[in-house]
Subunit: 173 residues, 2 copies
């Protein structure tokens, strides 16, 4: 897309941000996977992003104001990527996107259980998750006595499905 023909339509501008194959995958891994480092994103993503594309997209997402980069105090070469409020605000979109994909596309059960839980949790759960992300990435205070984190809840559900599938695949051991 040539830069001289952008329209000011919100949907079009949104597509300029993540209307490509990788930007939203990276944000997904940071948000739901809790990944903060280059290598974690490079090796951790199921889809196998190339390192030059990852570097390019991280740079682009920083320029767009969706991510910030900081030195990791424990390792002079490590960089920690953090979400901005702009990126955290994508959580409802990701929740809807996951819900839509779960219904209409051939998703795998263990990978769609998180989308299902997030959909069932609805806006209250999204808000809680966003608050946890703000705490994790922006250092804002967190409400006390809020129970297990949303990410831990989603992760536990994922692992339960994986375990159940393994059990039913080989019932006797």
């Amino acid at each position: 897309m040539p830069l001289d023909r952008r329209s000011g339509c919100p949907i079009n501008l949104s597509l300029e941000v993540f209307g490509d194959r990788w930007s939203l995958i990276i944000l997904r891994d940071i948000i739901f996977g809790g990944r903060r480092h280059f290598r974690e994103l490079l090796n951790g993503s199921m889809e196998g992003i190339a390192s030059n594309i990852l570097a390019d997209r991280l740079k682009r997402l920083m320029e767009l104001g969706m991510l910030t980069k900081a030195d990791d105090p424990s390792h002079k070469q490590k960089a920690i990527y953090s979400l901005t409020e702009m990126a955290i605000a994508l959580v409802p979109i990701l929740a809807h996107l996951g819900a839509w994909g779960r219904v209409w596309l051939p998703t795998r059960e263990e990978l769609s259980i998180r989308a299902e839980l997030l959909e069932r949790g609805g806006p209250p759960m999204w808000e809680k998750f966003m608050d946890e992300l703000r705490h994790e990435h922006l250092g804002t205070p967190l409400d006390a006595a809020s129970g297990p984190s949303v990410r831990a809840t989603l992760q536990a559900a994922y692992e339960a499905v994986v375990a159940e599938k393994a059990r039913s695949a080989s019932p006797a051991a």
Copy 2:
């Protein structure tokens, strides 16, 4: 992205559907702009899609089950593209996407007024709109006495902003 490394993650699969620059723009023009023909989509979109890309994406969206094509009885060469339920189900995502873009990106006021109204209308308005789209594209019956259509409401708001801007730009006439 090579086809042999797709993951069954709902977000990843969703991105395979509209993780590109144009697919969602086309759907936007059909949904909000009411466009049904090739030429309408070609000339009507603000972003100026190329005809080969448009043809390719229409074909792809049909293969994915998001669109269907039918002959226009009034013109032997005209084709009418219709949304499927799968595509109509994107309305909440488009609403969220518009709302997000309106807040975080440099949208133009007259183009973002629709997103604002759609956000304010919330899920009830989205449902009404989806029902109207089902009527328009799938031929399902429509609830009577439902007032002006959502699309007409959004269009009227857009035109009001345009008129207001023109008035304030040249107050004396």
